[in-house]
Symmetry: C2
Subunit: 232 residues, 2 copies
DNA sequence: TAAATACAAAATGTATACAATATATCGCGG
DNA sequence: CCGCGATATATTGTATACATTTTGTATTTA
């Protein structure tokens, strides 16, 4: 067992990352340096370095003289997201199929097992985190330094968007997650078979699913009620 | 005139960025905290924050307990680069054509003027920096948070690769830079015309040019000399 | 009453001193 | 002479104290 006990810095970083991904720290939330440093037994100096690092990864925004905030989700986020995601993700999965190592494939299978477990529990956060982990591994598999930064940022907001919509959505939800899980399985198989084309197709299908999911949330069937009749 | 005098931190950051882009700080170079802090009149605390920030942008690598280095250029860098660059760059330029604001177009024209000036001087570093600035503005124009991180990393290594090869290359060089400059002009026009398709095509042509340039450097015509006859 | 200004409190930014860790040097033994 | 290990040096990491900036509040004035 070689787990070298994570440093307080790593613990804090992981805590914040998880918080951001699960919306426990909502977009735009202020982070109090003093409170966090007391809570994690760190002085402000290393804490601020963690902030800088997480800002570089896209989790936080640092505004000079005004402290750190959880990076925002603006009105245009969704549009930007669905413009970039299919392209980047298809490329990553294609490269993943070409370059995955055996140990990475093992890790991916394990992540998928965790994801399925999370599906059966009713813990939305666990689900989002497990899904995030799965896709993160595909990113490692691709082994392309230039693609990864964008991919990781997409994964952050993918998780946050999923948290937003899976929490709210009723019906169809289980269908969709089941399909997503099947996609994951097919991805694993395509990667094992080194079948880049299939992997790429699966990436597109996967985003198409997300897209439909969110569209149904953002533009639901209108309430069919007469105007102005509501105040008894 | 609203130039609020850059803070020492910004100065340092810019200095390091420029150094990395121009190879004044070669890949893998160690950065001495104490020396730099004395040189720029900063204490180590803010200096290390600059390191963290630049690491996030892809300029530096931070290894725990072993200080900061200029991020490396490995053997696989070129391959990764030319796999990712055409795709990302085409996407960025397409979005740039769709979303550019008037003031950004003005800035782009100015950058191109600077680039041409640098072409006539014989300063390779100036040339690389001006080219970098030009492309950086196209990145701003695209206005897509998710694409930018990868794009910016590509630009860093684009500059470094250009510095490597333009310094060494003989002949054809002027042809190529002239063609590159023409591409830039055509890009500006396509952006003004909001012609996304043309912009995307230009992106591909531009990378094709770079690619050819580097191929000729990496795989030159072999020296046509008899083996083993060299030691007088 | 509303706006503006001055003051107070809080939070961020920086410097310096100290602790921990990594690297280099020297001495010893094989 | 080479390799190993211990000590010394240098460098990185952390804590704390202080300076600066921002933000909130109260008071004054139109």
């Amino acid at each position: 067992m070689n787990k070298p006990t994570p440093s307080p810095k790593d613990q804090l970083a992981d805590h914040l990352r998880q918080g951001v991904l699960t919306l426990a720290l909502p977009p735009g939330a202020d982070l109090d340096e003093v409170r966090l440093s007391e809570e994690f037994g760190l002085s402000r100096t290393p804490l601020r370095e963690v902030f800088r690092a997480l800002a570089g990864e896209g989790y936080l925004d640092l505004r000079a003289g005004r402290g750190a905030r959880v990076s925002d989700m603006s009105m245009t986020t969704l549009r930007d997201f669905f413009l970039a995601a299919p392209m980047i993700y298809a490329a990553v999965l294609r490269l993943a199929a070409q370059n995955a190592t055996q140990s990475q494939i093992t890790a991916l299978k394990a992540a998928q097992t965790q994801f399925e477990a999370a599906l059966h529990s009713d813990n939305t956060a666990q689900r989002a985190l497990a899904n995030n982990r799965f896709h993160d591994i595909t990113g490692e598999m691709a082994q392309n330094t230039y693609l990864l930064p964008s991919f990781k940022r997409l994964l952050i907001d993918h998780a946050r968007i999923a948290m937003t919509f899976y929490n709210a959505q009723t019906g169809r939800q289980d269908d969709d997650t089941e399909t997503a899980s099947q996609h994951h399985h097919a991805m694993i198989n395509a990667i094992i078979a080194r079948d880049a084309d299939t992997a790429e197709d699966l990436a597109h299908a996967h985003w198409q699913l997300s897209r439909g999911h969110i569209e149904r949330f953002v533009m639901p069937g209108a309430l069919d009620l007469p105007l102005g009749a509501s105040h008894n």
